[in-house]
């Protein structure tokens, strides 16, 4: 078994020209294989998370930011007490939404854009620019992406 791409397995090369392996080398091969399987499993787990969750902000702070930028005045936001308003669309299931504002593919970049400058994207929308700062938008997005 030749696995030159894995640094863990760098020493598990055939010991001689004959291609015969010593017993320790075989053990190294096996432990190397186990490592690989574990790594594959780990990366599979990591991929199950929504792809956006990592680089955004703090969801708990986001909940407060959603209140402090008056989002709660117009949207039903699950988990935010008092956000019962139906002026705009409810934000439940936002993580599963295909398009944001009915126009933008639902990616973290687009969500941040929409939170910060909705009027640039949809000038006819009743949603005003609320002066959301970058860090707060990240926190809001982190919370909104927990809604699935």
């Amino acid at each position: 078994m030749n696995l030159p791409h894995s640094p863990l397995c760098a020493r598990a090369e055939p010991d001689g020209v004959s291609g015969h392996r010593s017993a320790p080398a075989k053990r190294r091969d096996i432990s190397c294989l186990i490592h690989l399987i574990l790594l594959t499993l780990l990366s599979a787990c990591a991929q199950e998370k929504p792809p956006h969750a990592q680089k955004l902000g703090d969801a708990e702070r986001g909940k407060v930011a959603l209140q402090q930028y008056a989002c709660t005045g117009c949207h039903v936001i699950p988990g935010v007490v008092g956000a019962n308003s139906h002026v705009g669309p409810p934000l439940a299931g936002l993580a599963k939404r295909t398009y944001l504002a009915g126009a933008l593919p639902n990616t973290p970049e687009n969500l941040l854009r929409w939170l910060k400058e909705p009027q640039k994207i949809a000038p006819l929308s009743a949603m005003p620019d609320l002066g959301v700062k970058d860090a707060h938008a990240m926190d809001m997005a982190a919370y909104l992406y927990t809604l699935d």
Partner: protein, 188 residues
């Protein structure tokens, strides 16, 4: 031996239990207050039971007190226009308007000042009148009785009642039209 004795005893025990529980509850309530356990910070959400209690009490209080107010006709465009001017100056800073964000003071409040297009759909004109005139304790909503005559408050109500029919674009057009005719310095 009286057949009522066990029942009497039961009543006695029940009364004693209620007294003990009631006292514990009262002591607990006082402790929550005295030790400042309930966070009154505006950045700290109410718990759902507290929010529901306060919100229901508020809605019911408005409904009860506005019950017997008779609203005048509110469709006169001159009245709506008069209301618009006062609305823009005195309401928008906290409540915003169609396509207009509330100001920073409004955004920072808990409870957040309502979106009035929604309030206009949920409350009767007489209820909006009562709220504007009397204000709402602990919400940040001031009373306007000492600033405006009733007739001016009705004008504001007349405009608020129109809000759900206005698009952001139409609201902006109203602003432009009005303030072209009237220089800002003449505003009340």
């Amino acid at each position: 031996m009286s057949p009522f004795k066990p029942f009497k005893q039961f009543l006695l025990h029940a009364a004693a239990a209620l007294a003990v529980l009631g006292t514990l509850g009262a002591v607990g309530g006082v402790a929550v207050m005295y030790f400042g356990l309930y966070n009154i910070a505006a950045v700290d959400q109410h718990t759902l039971p507290v929010y529901t209690l306060l919100d229901t009490a508020l809605r019911q209080a408005i409904r009860q007190r506005a019950k017997h107010i008779a609203a005048p006709a509110l469709s006169d465009p001159a009245l709506v226009e008069k209301g618009f001017v006062r609305f823009r100056k005195n309401c928008v800073p906290c409540h915003g308007a169609p396509g207009v964000a509330p100001g920073d003071a409004g955004k920072g409040m808990l409870p957040l000042p309502n979106n009035l297009a929604e309030s206009a759909r949920e409350l009767a004109p007489r209820e909006i009148f009562w709220v504007v005139k009397n204000g709402l304790k602990m919400t940040g909503m001031p009373a306007w009785e000492y600033r405006f005559e009733d007739e001016e408050i009705w004008a504001i109500v007349a405009f608020v009642a129109k809000l759900p029919t206005l698009s952001p674009k139409e609201y902006r057009a109203m602003e432009e039209e009005h303030f072209e005719r009237t220089p800002a310095s003449a505003e009340r």
